[in-house]
């Protein structure tokens, strides 16, 4: 289990992660979603002690990662598949990682076989394609047979066969009651792999929700209103459930646009937006739209 508590990280005057709190439970794949620049990688780096938080804390199974003597046996991480010396062979790369944690050389051969790289074990990592590099990174994460796994954008650069492989691998690992936190900026990817979603935007938590519940939000409506405080309690009374976005927008589940419009009229609140969300992808885009750091201008 990973527990993230009021985690904050600033780079100069930019707040990359802003008071983030959530828990990653074992036995399921937790998808960590957000647009590029939302703070996913920074959060994962803080979990591993690579970046130091300005405030807040992270514990893994109740302990601080940096304090672990043999962290690979407890936590495996794929952060950036390119974080390898390109002139070292795949096997030597894994061997020097394994040795730091007292993991025997035969385990290196096992994980090479597990990820399907045994035939290129003695090839330089620099000659690998993006997909092979990704597999090498996953092999490194699995070396210590850890209970907790962090994968940052694991499907990047994988071909369809590779994507299918990693999905099955993650499902299998979760099935063994391991804790998995998997980041992605693609909702469609997570919809097929994750059991639970943690969605962030501009470093803040937007949603911490089971995939089932998220999928049921087929009839979601994105609402923006002048006076939320008066409108929201009435929507809840009428049977709607509310999920807050970052910028004053919110998503209503359980009521349709006509019902919401009527309630707004009753309480005299001006609606500035009332958009039915047709798909999962749209619901995600709606929630994060205003927290997208880099956006293409309108054509």
């Amino acid at each position: 289990m990973i527990r993230i508590d009021r985690l904050t990280k600033r780079f100069g005057d930019r707040t990359a992660v802003d008071g983030l709190t959530f828990t990653v439970e074992p036995g399921r794949v937790t998808g960590f979603l957000g647009p590029n620049g939302a703070g996913k990688s920074t959060t994962m780096r803080m979990v591993l002690g690579l970046d130091k938080p300005n405030s807040g804390s992270v514990t893994i199974n109740g302990r601080d990662y940096v304090g672990m003597t043999r962290p690979m046996r407890e936590v495996g991480a794929l952060l950036n598949a390119h974080a390898v010396h390109d002139r070292r062979t795949a096997r030597n790369h894994l061997l020097c990682l394994a040795q730091t944690n007292g993991i025997p050389g035969r385990r290196v051969d096992e994980v090479l076989e597990l990820v399907g790289l045994e035939s290129v074990a003695h090839k330089r990592a620099g000659s690998f394609s993006l997909g092979m590099g990704q597999r090498l990174g996953i092999a490194a994460a699995l070396l210590g047979d850890p209970q907790v796994l962090l994968f940052d954008e694991p499907v990047n650069g994988l071909d369809p066969e590779g994507i299918k492989w990693i999905r099955e691998l993650m499902r299998g690992l979760a099935g063994e009651n391991r804790t998995l936190l998997v980041s992605s900026h693609l909702m469609s990817e997570m919809a097929q792999t994750a059991d639970h979603l943690v969605i962030i935007g501009k470093g803040k938590l937007i949603a911490d929700i089971g995939i089932g519940e998220f999928l049921r939000q087929g009839s979601n409506v994105l609402v923006r209103a002048d006076d939320q405080d008066r409108l929201v309690p009435r929507l809840v009374e009428a049977g709607g459930s509310i999920q807050q976005g970052t910028d004053g927008s919110f998503i209503v589940t359980g009521l349709d646009t006509r019902q919401i419009g009527k309630i707004a009229l009753d309480v005299g609140v001006v609606l500035t937006e009332l958009t039915p969300q047709r798909s999962l992808e749209q619901a995600y885009m709606g929630l994060t739209r205003d927290s997208v750091e880099f956006q293409a201008g309108a054509a």
Partner: protein
């Protein structure tokens, strides 16, 4: 030494030997030291009579080669750290060894031992070959049982270690291969060797006496100059300066985000 640091050192040795160029460069460095020493020794022994009592066959047989070899020893030390930053490997290394002090300590110990072994081999080979050439040139060669000679030859290997560790420390502080190798070359070669010829006499004299590597190299002399530091005093000064650089490197390495 705890099991964890021993494991990390084993890993650092794997890292070092699995970069294809490292071991050949190390071998080439020893060869350059011995070869260049032989050349400079034969030149020096031609005019040993002009030098008279100041002729130091031990020093002469190692110093010339060391000037060349130390550049690549320092650069290899730099690369132990900067190659990890250049390739991004440092993030992976610190994920598997989150105790930063342990990772850097393992690098320092491992490269220190590599430099010690190769440095002693280079020092003894240069000395022995040099004495044959000095004898052939008609001067009287030194032997290891003469006063100060064994200390000087062993000391040569120890200076290799310090040069290598200055490289590791500067590599860690600067994180960039080009910047750190330039700095190592400036600190150990340009300032002490070329500098005194260009500087005002008083400054040049001070550099020749107190600059860390100039002081440290007193340990390889057997004919002592009264205006310079004593062999172990000089070596102690260089060791202290290297230790200070390493302490700065540890402090910065612990505090920085990767």
């Amino acid at each position: 030494m705890s099991a964890a640091i021993a494991d990390t050192m084993r890993s650092e040795w794997t890292k070092f030997r699995s970069i294809p160029s490292n071991l050949p460069i190390l071998l080439a460095t020893v060869t350059v030291m011995v070869g260049a020493s032989a050349l400079t020794t034969s030149r020096a022994s031609e005019n040993h009579q002009a030098v008279g009592a100041a002729f130091d066959p031990t020093y002469i047989s190692m110093y010339g080669g060391f000037l060349f070899a130390q550049i690549s020893v320092g650069a290899l030390g730099v690369l132990v750290v900067t190659s990890e930053y250049a390739t991004g490997m440092i993030r992976t290394s610190l994920t598997v060894v989150p105790r930063r002090g342990r990772l850097l300590a393992a690098k320092v110990w491992t490269f220190g031992l590599i430099a010690l072994v190769t440095g002693e081999v280079a020092a003894f080979c240069s000395f022995l070959l040099g004495q044959i050439m000095i004898g052939a040139g008609g001067a009287s060669p030194a032997t290891l049982d003469q006063p100060g000679v064994l200390r000087a030859v062993v000391g040569m290997g120890l200076v290799w270690v310090l040069v290598g560790l200055i490289g590791v420390a500067l590599g860690c502080l600067l994180r960039n291969t080009m910047a750190a190798t330039t700095m190592v070359t400036a600190v150990n070669f340009i300032i002490p060797i070329i500098g005194p010829r260009l500087m005002p006499a008083a400054v040049g004299e001070w550099v020749t006496t107190y600059w860390p590597i100039s002081a440290g190299l007193q340990v390889i002399t057997t004919a002592h100059h009264p205006e310079r530091l004593a062999p172990w005093t000089g070596f102690g000064l260089m060791t202290a300066c290297t230790a200070a650089l390493l302490m700065a490197a540890f402090a910065v390495f612990r505090l920085r985000d990767v």
